[in-house]
Structures are given as C-alpha cells and as structure tokens.
Amino acid sequence: MNIGKLNDIPVLGSRVVQTERGEIAIFRTSDDAIFAIANNCPHKEGPLADGIIHGHKVTCPLHNWQINLENGEAIAPDQGCAESFKIEVDTDGNLLLNI
C-alpha cells in the first residue's frame, strides 16, 4: 500500500503507520534508505520509531537496545528480533509498503 511520500519523513527520522498488522515504524537513514519494522522493540516493546537513528541502526528509547534496521535483529550481545517488512520508494517518491 501507498503510505505517503519519502519527504514526509525527516532524514534520520521515523514515522509510524497504523496497519492491520499493528503499528509499523518507517525509518529514513542518512543515505536515504527506507526501512519498515514493527514498532515494538523485542526487549520490552519500546516504540522504536522514537529512537535515535544512526547508520542502519536505531537505538530504542527505553533501554538503549540497538536494532538493525535491515532485518529487525537486535545487535549483539542483545538478542531478539522485530518483524521487518518490505518497503520501496517509487520514482515519484511514493512509499510503497508491502505487508
């Protein structure tokens, strides 16, 4: 589904989208890559969209776990995984989320 435009999300920022599969966080990194991950930290369900983004990682705002945006996996030594989803940007800058 089309969830909006690339520029709806600030660089190094994130927005959430409500879906029937729950809240999904959409991240935009400094190299303009876009990632979609369930907005629940594998630790204690912290809202990942509210974290600080750096590289292809986000630091959860509640207890500082770091999550790899590419696959939703927690960075070692922490263990756990948030569900990740396919997302693309078309030539007009539309965000197409595949769930």
Binding site: M1, N2, I3, G4, D8, I9, P10, V11, L12, G13, R15, V16, V17, Q18, T19, E23, I26, T29, S30, D31, K44, E45, G46, P47, D50, G51, I52, I53, H54, G55, T59, P61, L62, H63, N64, P77, L95, L96, L97
Partner: protein, 812 residues
C-alpha cells in the same frame, strides 16, 4: 595484493593488536603469526588460578585455532623466529620457514630471569611464565612434598599460594626484608606476610640463595649463611627481562627494551613493537592494562589511520590470592611534599594509605578493605582536586553516600547469587562467568555483555571490583583520555575545544573535522555534540531534533508503555485556583489516567497518548501554563518554601526569590539536569543543600550553595559565598549556570563537575573575578534570548507536526 603483516609472539599484546586491527580494517592485511609456545593465544594472567586449581586451561584460552582460521590468519605455533633480515624484509624461524613482510610487529614479551647459581639447570628448577611451567608444577606437586619459591613478589606469592593449594609445603625465599616491595609499603607487607603465614606458607626473609642441591633431581636449597632446606621443586620468580635478543640482532635500537615512539614504532619505520618487550618514554610495563592501551594505538597506525597516540600509563595491581584483599597503585611512598593519609584497624586487619600531594592523589596501598581501590585509582588518574573530601577520603566512597550499595562491602565474600546490578537484575556469578568465558577486560565490555552497570551506574564500583578481582588488575581503556564514545578517539574536552577554536557550527562539520569513524555517529555522541554546539553558538546553531533523545525531541517524558507524561511549570511551586482548574479539566477532557504531585512541587499528568499532546498543550498554553522541562537536560524545578511571607522563622522572601530565579533560568539547556531551591532560613525546608544551585536566606542576606544533588549518589552542596541583595543572587546564579554550561562534559551533573574541577576554581572564576562573573552572566542572558521560547505553545500551534501524527496508509 594485500600488504603482509607478520606478528612475532602469539601472546597477549600481539594478538590484542591484531584484534584491534581486525576491528578497524579486517581486509587490510594478510596476517601471519609466529609463537614459540604450542598453544593458541591464552590469558597468561589467569595461570595463577589454574595452578591453584580454581580454573582449568580451557577456561583461559582467549582465541582458539578456529579463530585464526575464521579471520584468515596463518598461525605457526611451536615456531621461534630466529632472525630478521630488515634489508630483504624477511624473517626466519627455527624450523626453516622464511616469510616476507611489509610490516612487522614484535610482541615477544619477556623472559623470566633465572639466577645462575649452581644447580639451576636441574629439571625441577623452573620459572612461572607459561602453560608448560604450570604443567610441570602440577606434575611435581602430585609427587613431591616440598617446594621452594625464590622471590616474594607478586608472581612468587601467587605461585606459592597455588602450590600450597595443591598440597605442597611451601617456603618463600626473599632477598629483602619485606614482601612485594614494588607494590607495598612495610606496614602492608607485614600484614600480608602474617596472613599468608596463618594460611601455612613459610617465609625466609633476607635470605640469599647459594646453590640448588641434587644430582639429577632437586633435593634442596642452600643459602649463603649455610642453612639448607629440603626441596622437590624450585620456582624462580625473581623478575623478568624484556625479550629483545631478536630485535637487537636485527640492529633495532634497544635499551632495556625495544625503544618505541608514541605510535609504538621502532627505529625502523616498518617495524612496530608492543607489550613487555617494549620501552616507551623510558618505562617498561609488566601488566596487561597498559599493553592493551599500546595495542589499540599500534593498531590505529598499522591500519593506516594514524591519529592515536600512546602517552604512557598509570597502573594498579591486585594480588590474585583468594581471600586476600590487597590493592596498590601509583607512587605510594610519597615524596618530600607529599602527605600520607593513613587508616589502621589492626584487629580487623585493615590498613589504608593514600598519598596526597598538592590535593591530588599520587598513590595508594590498601590492605584488608580494597572496596575503594578503583575509586582512588580513578581520582588519581583524573587528577581530581580532593581538597574538600580530604577528611573523609579514607572512609571511602560509600561514606560519601552511594545509595543502595553502601552495605555491600567486600565483593569477594559475596555469594554468586548476590544481586550486583539492581536495575538489570545481574548477579555476581553472571558477571564473573562472563568475564572469564567471554574474555572481558573492561567495564564497557562487561556492560555490553551482561548489562550490569549499564543503567543507573550505581553499581559501577562493584563491577570494577569484580573485574579487578577476577583479573588481578584494572583494565579500563586508556584511562587518561576516555573517548566521548566509540565513534571517536577524542574526549569531551577535545571536542569542546575544537568546536570553539575552529568555529564549527554543525554536527556534520564536527564529525568531519574530527574524523568520526561512523558517518552519523551514534545515540551517545549526537546528543552531546548537539548540546555543545547549542551552548557555544546560541545565535547561529540550528538545533537538530534527530540528535535529541525522544523526551527532548517532543518535550514530554516517554513512559514504559510508550505513552507520555508532562509536567507544566509551576513557578516556585506556587499555583492558583485557575491553574488547578485548568489542569483538572484537561485531565477530564483527555481522560488522563494519573495525576501525581512530583518530588519537585509540581503536578505530573501521566499516560497521555502521543497524538493528544499538541491538543493538551493548547489548553495549557491558553491558560498561561508552559513546559516544566521535566524531560530535559535543562533547568528543572525551583523549589521554595513559604519564607518570610508566612513562616514565623522566615528571614527573607524565599518564594519571590525562587520565582525570580526560575524566570531567569527557565528554558536553558544544560549538560545535565539542573535544579534550584530557595529556603527562607537555615531550617532549609526546600532542601537547598542538595540542589545544583541552592539559596539559603539568613538575616543578613543570602548564602549561595553549589554542586549538590539527591539521586543515586547524594552529595551535599559546597558553600560558594554569601551575598546581600536579590540582584546579586540573580547575577551569581546566571554566571554559575553559564560556567557549568561551558565547562562541564555532557551528562556530567554539577556534583561530579564540582568535584572534578574543585571549588577553588569556581570561586576564582566567578566570586573573586567580578568582571568574569559579569561576562559569564551576560553570555547566559544572550543564550536565554534564544532558549526562552515555550516549546509546548509552538507545538500546539503546529511546529513539528509530523512527530505527533501517523502516516496515513491507503490500500493500493
């Protein structure tokens, strides 16, 4: 083709350097390692617990052969390199291998010194250096009865203790009259000797070995004075010599060790050296912590980054004998101008000595109670001014108020299931196991593997002690220069200085100029840089919301369930029916589940949904209520008492004073949170003496107190000075906040900052120097022009709307 790196020596320093290179640039080199020993790389310092039977060899392997394969490293164990041809850039081994190099790393360690007395070549005369020695000792201990250890230093005593644990009768022979003279003063040495004697060790002090007796096997030892004692095993632990033969034969410049520069380079630019074989600024090191610092710097240069520098290390030691608590660091003898602070409790077997010169700790010896060793060591390395803790120093950090852990004295006596980290529920056993199994050496490593000490930090000292006890030393990385975070080698102070000197005005330009190793930094450095820039260039810098922690980004406190809480500012704690009505009706309108009086005289509205925040703020702002910044590294509360307006003891109008101060200071961003209080008399009902800036009214004026906090480690304020008028209170307050803002490191609250820089420095800057105080205050007022904009009102009017709304999904 990749460049070829050859490492001679498969020990602790060499392999640590390789590990550091792999972290920086795993693809740069084709690596070959030679080691005389037939094992992979192991943790030499844990040979003592292997000897005493507390650990087995498998526990102490750092990198097994698989690790070398996984990292494409060619390993030749059991090969000794016998020569280096610097002209052809080749090395040759005793097994006839020749290998070319582009860069060579010498990490040959040292050789134990064997006193060449008659009989020293008998098979049962050994040193204590490697796995082979431990095997030999264990074999003999199962057959023989008597062991003689020559040398009463650290190694000798650990060997003696181990052999005793294996059931042998052990005599320690020492040339001098005190044990461990490198690490202990006389008093501590006597305590140590007595307690080792109680455990069953025998000592022969001031005894010089003449010869070792026996034809084919050792039977005894004879001394210069004619005495003889029986022996089945003789361990020589009389010192080590840097292993420099190979380097010397190759014509490299050596003195006592292989001489290296601050980049760990030898006189041949292609050859680097690290570890015990090295001499740096005339010093040799025989402990792991400095060698690891060297490894880090050396790797930085070998990986062609070229900016790290090694400037020498300060070291500390512990004796790894279970049940004996002993800690020593720095210069514990003290020079002419030094004072010795001493605490002695003979019946408890406790002795503490701290050597102080110029109000800085120079060295320490602790026996029996080493809880504060890590703390003293930290104060010493950071060269902290201890003038105002001087009379309490010997009673330790717990005495200064370290809530929660004050009772937990001796970590070594705790059972494995004692909880060390209350925040993350980590027990002693978890930490000790992780240190051994995961090969952890530093506090940061323990934090990331076990989470212990990674939250509120109040158990840090305990974790440091567990590290020190398990490994026998303090392993904190590059202590003098602690980098801001993993993205840089630079410290907070470096970054602050460079921002100013180079007039850098954006996060990107700081990272670029200072060579950050990750393009966007991380969640630790970005908020710090954002703060430094906002503080330095209030007129120019554009705040970067993406570098703010969520609370500061959206101006509310995130809660465990992802909802938010907000605390409106209640000026000086005084409210009105109108404000209370507004808050009550907002709570009803938005079904806010909880309202609570905070510990700071205000009302907290908890459990608000993120998307409701702007609407809640609109109603608050219509009624004149603004943000209380309960979420920020910023000015928080200004607590007051009722003061002279009502109270029968009040000497001044403390409430009015508090409100004026809050109007002055609200909105400012500070390195850590900043709290104020004003009390109307010394009864101090607003707790001004545990605030960052506390004011206490007296008949003749106002006392100004600084650097206090409640919280994890309670610290009572220091009296800065006394003033007479309200205007002065305001000026001093503005100047103090500005001095703190410009000087402290990000996330350093006033209490640790005041302890670090010392009260005299602050008095000099803003009490004695009136002009400087005025300038500081003026700079504060300028920055307040840009800071005193209510963030809630702005957001109620539509600023940063994207933070509070979802993207709207529509099906395709």
């Amino acid at each position: 083709m990749k460049e070829k790196l050859v490492c001679i020596g498969n020990g602790m320093a060499g392999i640590r350097t390789i590990e550091e290179i792999l972290k920086l640039d795993p693809e740069y080199y084709d690596i070959t390692v030679f080691g005389s020993e037939s094992y992979g790389n192991y943790n030499r310092i844990l040979l003592s617990p292997v000897l005493s039977g507390e650990k087995i060899i498998e526990d102490i392997i750092l990198n097994d052969k698989q690790w070398y394969q996984d990292n494409n490293i060619t390993l030749h164990t059991g090969h000794t390199v016998v020569s280096i041809d610097r002209y052809k850039r080749q090395i040759h081994t005793n097994k006839g291998i020749t290998v070319n190099y582009d860069r060579l790393l010498l990490a040959t360690g040292s050789n134990p010194f064997i006193i060449p007395v008659p009989g020293h070549t008998l098979p049962e005369v050994i040193s204590f250096r490697n796995i082979q020695d431990v095997h030999t000792m264990l074999d003999i201990s199962h057959q023989g009865k008597n062991a003689v250890v020559i040398g009463g230093g650290l190694l000798g005593l650990e060997a003696a203790n181990g052999l005793m644990q294996q059931g042998m009768q052990v005599t320690v022979v020492h040339l001098l009259d005190t044990l461990m003279e490198q690490q202990l003063d006389k008093v501590a040495a006597v305590l140590l000797q007595t307690s080792l004697e109680e455990r069953g060790l025998k000592f022969m002090m001031e005894a010089e070995t003449a010869s070792i007796l026996g034809e084919d096997h050792v039977t005894g030892v004879s001394f210069k004075d004619g005495t003889e004692i029986p022996a089945d095993l003789v361990v020589m632990a009389v010192g080590i010599r840097p292993n420099i033969d190979l380097a010397q034969e190759a014509g490299l410049y050596c003195e006592k060790g292989i001489v290296v520069s601050d980049t760990l380079q030898t006189y041949d630019p292609r050859i680097y050296a690290v570890g015990e074989c090295v001499q740096h600024r005339n010093k040799l090191y025989g402990l792991v912590a400095p060698l690891f610092e060297q490894a880090k710097v050396c790797a930085n240069h070998l990986a062609n980054l070229g900016y790290a520098r090694y400037e020498g290390s300060v070291t500390s030691t512990k004796l790894k004998v279970t049940g004996i608590d002993l800690f020593s660091a720095g210069d514990f003898h003290g020079g002419q101008d030094a004072d010795e602070l001493i605490f002695q409790d003979p019946s408890q077997g406790i002795y503490k000595k701290v050597v102080v010169e110029d109000n800085r700790i120079k060295g320490t010896v602790l026996y029996g109670d080493t809880v504060d060793g890590a703390w003293y060591f930290q104060l010493m390395r950071d060269e902290v001014d201890i003038s105002n803790q001087r009379n309490k120093l010997l009673f330790g950090q717990a005495h200064l108020g370290d809530s929660g852990h004050a009772e937990a004295q001796r970590v070594t006596l705790m059972s494995d299931d004692t909880e060390i980290c209350g925040c993350n529920g980590v027990c002693k056993g978890d930490i000790v196991n992780a240190i051994i199994k995961e090969n952890l050496f530093t506090l940061d490593e323990v934090r990331s593997h076990t989470k212990a000490s990674s939250s509120c930090g109040s158990c840090t000292a305990l974790v440091e002690q567990l590290l020190a006890f398990t490994l026998g030393s303090d392993y904190s990385d590059s202590p003098k220069k602690k980098p801001l975070c993993g993205c840089t080698e630079y410290t907070h102070a470096d970054v602050q200085r460079v921002i100013k000197e180079q007039h850098l005005t954006s996060i990107k330009s700081v990272m670029h100029f200072m060579n950050w190793n990750k393009p966007d930094g991380c969640h630790v450095c970005r908020p710090a840089l954002n703060y430094y820039l906002i503080c330095k260039w209030p007129e120019e810098f554009q705040d970067d919301p993406q570098s703010r922690f969520i609370n500061e980004r959206i101006h509310a406190n995130i809660q465990k369930d992802g909802t938010y809480s907000i605390v409106p500012r209640i000026w000086g704690g005084v409210t009105s029916p109108k404000e209370l009505h507004t808050i009550a009706s907002i709570a009803e309108k938005f079904a806010i589940p909880t309202i609570k009086f905070t510990g700071g005289q205000r009302l907290d509205l908890l459990g608000i949904k993120k998307h409701d925040l702007p609407a809640v703020w609109k109603d608050l702002s219509d009624a004149g209520l603004v943000s209380g910044h309960a979420y920020g590294k910023a000015l928080r509360t200004v607590k007051t008492c009722v003061g002279s307006e009502w109270c029968r003891f009040g000497t001044q109008n403390s409430t009015e004073m508090g409100i004026k101060l809050e109007k002055l200071a609200w909105g400012s961003w500070t390195p850590h949170k900043f709290k104020l209080a004003v009390s109307g008399c010394p009864r101090n009902c607003s707790e001004a003496t545990i605030k960052d800036f506390g004011v206490i009214a007296v008949e003749s004026g106002w006392e100004l107190h600084i650097g206090g906090n409640g919280g994890i480690k309670v610290r009572v304020t220091d009296l800065l000075c006394k003033v007479t008028t309200q205007e002065e209170v305001l000026e001093y307050c503005g100047a103090f906040i500005q001095l703190y803002r410009e000087d402290a490191h990000y996330l350093e609250r006033t209490a640790p900052w005041v302890e670090r820089v010392g009260l005299p420095y602050i008095q000099e800057m803003m009490v004695e120097d009136a002009d400087n105080r005025k300038r500081l205050n003026e700079r504060f007022l300028v920055s307040q022009k840009y800071a005193q904009i209510d963030p809630w009102k702005e957001r109620a009017e539509g600023v940063a709307k994207h933070e509070f709304t979802s993207l709207h999904g529509e099906a395709q």
